[in-house]
């Protein structure tokens, strides 16, 4: 403790000498100057909270080339600086991301609703050890996203961990969906808005393209395509965080639970009702022979009908013109 105080004073002297020599604006302190105080692992503020900065971590972070005062601007004015500095403004560089965050549910909770625990930049990205999301050890690396979000949303994470997507992620399928694929990273909105709910179906389609195509053929799919969320989309039947394959009896779409799942909207749904195919494919004979035949029938009837009467009308027009517009 004693050593550090001496060093701090020394640093302050150096800093003020340099400033006096320059005669102009004081030269901002270099990182080494800051580390004189903050470099000690047990460095604490007056209230006992740590103020230590691990220089190695910082240098390895994506902000390594920056100076301390690039972010902690107030500290550039004098050393030692006052106890309380203004909060770091990430937005001064990352204004596009900050704008998205500002409109998000998280920012609303923190800034408007007064939920002090709601996250700002550092809660997900870290502080001095920020690494890009492409680095495996990063808090925002894909595989670690559930853990990062789960540090607040523990209940959701628990559910997510039981689902097929978490299992796929653990098996190394790096394209398996994590929180941010549906909820986005910075612009996270309330989950009861129509726009967000509709966007999730499109997100499911980025992997399950054929399944979403078949869904689009149904009444549910067409109504949601029109922008209305009153009818079922993916998550309404399959669940959201704890999606399980139909073969699993616990799955919402398992044989055992279909009546219950359909019955959530269709009061009175029974065993016969749930023989409905929510993902029909008229070109697949083994899936539904009747639908296949209906498809075949209309593919002959419609062109046949329009072909015949189209020709009939064209010939009639031609004959009438030749006859001078009569009959």
């Amino acid at each position: 403790m004693w050593t550090r105080s001496v060093l701090c004073v020394a640093a302050a002297c150096l800093f003020s000498t340099a400033a006096a020599a320059g005669q102009t604006a004081p030269k901002p302190p270099a990182n080494e100057d800051c580390l004189v105080c903050h470099g000690e692992a047990d460095a604490k503020r007056a209230d006992g909270r740590t103020m230590a900065v691990d220089a190695k971590h910082f240098e390895a972070s994506i902000h390594g080339p920056l100076g301390c005062v690039d972010c902690h601007a107030e500290a550039a004015k004098e050393v030692p600086h006052p106890d309380k500095l203004a909060k770091v403004a990430c937005a001064s560089c990352h204004d596009d991301v900050a704008g998205k965050y500002h409109d998000s549910m998280h920012a609303w909770a923190k800034e408007k609703a007064g939920l002090v625990g709601a996250p700002a930049c550092a809660d997900c990205h870290g502080t001095h050890d920020i690494t890009p999301h492409t680095v495996k050890t990063s808090r925002v690396y894909r595989d670690r996203i559930p853990e990062t979000c789960g540090s607040c949303h523990a209940g959701v994470r628990e559910k997510y961990d039981t689902g097929i997507h978490a299992a796929a992620l653990k098996k190394g399928a790096s394209n398996a969906p994590v929180c941010v694929d549906c909820h986005t990273t910075h612009a996270i909105t309330r989950t009861d808005t129509d726009a967000w709910r509709l966007s999730v179906t499109a997100e499911c389609g980025t992997c399950h393209a054929k399944v979403v195509d078949s869904f689009r053929r149904t009444f549910h799919g067409k109504v949601t395509e029109l922008g209305f969320t009153r009818v079922a989309a993916c998550a309404d039947c399959h669940g959201a965080h704890d999606i399980l394959p139909a073969a699993n009896p616990a799955s919402m779409v398992s044989k055992a639970r279909r009546v219950e799942t359909c019955g959530r909207c269709h009061t009175g749904a029974n065993e016969r009702f749930v023989q409905y195919d929510p993902h029909p494919d008229p070109s697949n004979y083994s899936r539904s022979a009747v639908l296949w035949w209906a498809n075949r029938f209309y593919w002959l009837l419609i062109p046949g009908c329009f072909g015949f009467f189209g020709l009939h009308s064209a010939l009639w027009y031609w004959r009438s013109r030749k006859n001078g517009g009569r009959s």
Binding site: G227, P282, S320
Partner: protein, 299 residues
């Protein structure tokens, strides 16, 4: 009104037809008209026409849900709820109208013992002569013979009529299944909802295309009728027109002496005007919907 000049040679009929074209109201009123559609049939057509237009406009956003105009058209009816409600109300009305019509035909046939409803010259039922008429009409198209002498209903009119019956029955049944799926599941397996939705959409494509293109052309837009045939709104045709368009019917009526009893006053100006307004509305909306479909398909 006394029917005059039924035995006049064709050139005289021609000259009288010329007077029809004149704007003088008196000239029109002096003309002899023959009844073709009774009041009930005319109203039935108006009801079918309006409900069909409404059903098309409210169903097309779903059928073409990916089209750029789909959301906008749905919003015109108050979104998915509004469009759905209007669709159901029109659907129930159309179904009721067709059920009433079938009941009326059965009543006429079996209670009033009216003859000729299911067979004969005035029947809507397709008969061998219709195939012969189609064959002769095709020959006429190619200049290989005269136009066939049509009777009360032509083959294309019978096709239109049968298509409405068949289409309403099928689409109505499928529509009711989709409207009340839980009730339907008491007798039908759930995969029938898939079939019902497919059939409802496919039959709708067929019906919309057929009515707004083929029926419009045959009934109204072809050169002999352009821009529209008002007979379905006025209920009567000028006797000259009957003689020209349906010579066999004219001959039969003359031969059997039934022509006098079928003669009616010429349609009033207000009836003609109302017919033109409703007809123009129907044609415009129908062709507008066709334009939307063409736009969606071209996308």
């Amino acid at each position: 009104m006394t029917p005059v000049g039924f035995d006049a040679p064709p050139h005289e009929a021609q000259s009288r037809e010329g007077t029809l074209m004149e704007p003088s109201g008196a000239a029109i009123e002096q003309h002899v008209h023959v009844a073709r559609f009774d009041r009930a049939s005319r109203w039935l057509h108006v009801v079918i026409m309006l409900t069909f237009l409404g059903l098309s406009a409210t169903g097309m956003p779903l059928l073409f849900s990916e089209a750029a105009w789909a959301r906008m058209l749905a919003r015109v009816f108050g979104g998915f709820h509004g469009a759905g409600l209007v669709h159901r109300v029109f659907g129930a009305t159309l179904l009721a109208a067709v059920v009433w019509h079938i009941g009326n035909v059965l009543y006429r046939a079996f209670v009033l013992c009216e003859k000729g409803l299911f067979w004969g010259p005035t029947s809507m039922v397709p008969q061998p002569r219709d195939i012969a008429d189609l064959y002769r009409q095709m020959k006429w198209f190619f200049g290989l013979g005269p136009q066939p002498k049509f009777e009360h209903f032509t083959y294309w009119e019978k096709f239109d009529y049968m298509a409405v019956l068949w289409g309403t029955a099928l689409m109505g049944a499928a529509g009711l299944v989709l409207w009340f799926p839980v009730a339907a599941s008491r007798i039908l397996p759930g995969w029938m909802f898939n079939v019902a939705l497919f059939v409802h959409g496919a039959e709708a494509s067929l019906a919309i295309g057929f009515i707004f293109v083929v029926h419009f052309f045959n009934g109204h837009l072809r050169p002999g009728k352009f821009p529209m045939d008002l007979v379905i709104f006025t209920g009567s045709v000028a006797v000259e027109q009957l003689r020209e368009e349906r010579p066999e019917e004219y001959e039969r009526l003359r031969r059997t002496g039934a022509l006098d009893a079928r003669c009616v006053p010429a349609p009033s100006h207000s009836l003609l005007r109302r017919g033109r307004i409703v007809g123009t509305l129907g044609l415009t909306l129908g062709l507008g919907l066709v334009a939307l479909i063409l736009y969606a398909v071209a996308q």
